[in-house]
Point group: C2
Chain length 219, copies 2
Amino acid sequence: MNITLNEEVLKDNNTAAAYNRDHFRNSGTLVINVMSSPGAGKTTLLEATVRELSNRYRIGVIEGDLATEMDADRIRAVGAQAVQINTHGGCHLDARMVAKTLPEFQMDELDLLFIENVGNLVCPSGYDLGQHHKIAVLSIPEGNDKIPKYPTMFMRTELVLLNKIDLLPYLDFSVEQALKDLEAIQPKSALMPISARTNEGMEQWYAWIDNAYRAMKEA
Amino acid sequence: MNITLNEEVLKDNNTAAAYNRDHFRNSGTLVINVMSSPGAGKTTLLEATVRELSNRYRIGVIEGDLATEMDADRIRAVGAQAVQINTHGGCHLDARMVAKTLPEFQMDELDLLFIENVGNLVCPSGYDLGQHHKIAVLSIPEGNDKIPKYPTMFMRTELVLLNKIDLLPYLDFSVEQALKDLEAIQPKSALMPISARTNEGMEQWYAWIDNAYRAMKEA
């Protein structure tokens, strides 16, 4: 019974994800689903990204949170359009929630759409939103054990932004160990050490977006 | 349909939680359900607590994680009995999972039982495990917006351990703002600034446990 319902829910989700994917293809918008623990720095990453890339891409952001418009307001303050989804207790975004926000954007005029998922290292990983890329942000203060302890997230993402490297001098964290752990769980995933706050390493992230955008256009 | 099933699931959970509660009452064991984001410092808190309190309480720990025995091994290394639950993708512990581990402890010989929930600031808050107290750990690097953004957790806990205050000099975090936000969402909850790593402020946490243990014995 439980399993049947879950399969139905996922089937419905996949239908909505396919609908989203069609929309994104038609409008030529590159869509990136950004996931992490609460407080890993997703919004700070997107603020910096909007500031840096607004001169060459038209950017929109969907913000997922249980409550408040705080994150959407932060994105609007740096000049991008943001639509806030409140899940009212729900632990992840699903494809239907995303589908419902699309009419609020002029999709034909968007080059990049970031979807900032609910802060949660478990639930969001299982839901296809129709995005081109699923990425995870992992922050240094969360500690070295997160990749093996949250395998469902890290086996389903293709890029891990290792954020807050400005705090490395104050914490015990081995970047080398994180590389090993990620290689063991998802050999195709890249690990990119950055600090969204100090901008260290962010040029790799911007180059990754440029490559992904080019690949989408050439496909 | 969805709602009916969720109600069934919660009803089953409440039945198991009542079963656990009876067990804890009969054995005279104080049980604390510890919840937080991934990497907020729950295991480090429990390591320090076992080290400090083992001379006056007999302590057991249930560890909840998607995968690995890493946390249970850390607790065993400081000398307490630990039983690891692996949820295999599940985003929270439920009362039945806890009930199944109880035969692995000699409950009559345990004064304190800590249940370290899956690292997740959303899902665990809705599930009664039969515990006496639900507490949250919030860490400084997660940032000042977590209390308003994750209200279901902070309205359902009676104590927030504000961990990693040793990192305050390197981050923008206002303890005063956190106090205001918690007061707005759950006026009965206390906020306790600590560092489980440096031991700063930990004496308040140990005093809180002593009071809770005494109150249980007098009830």
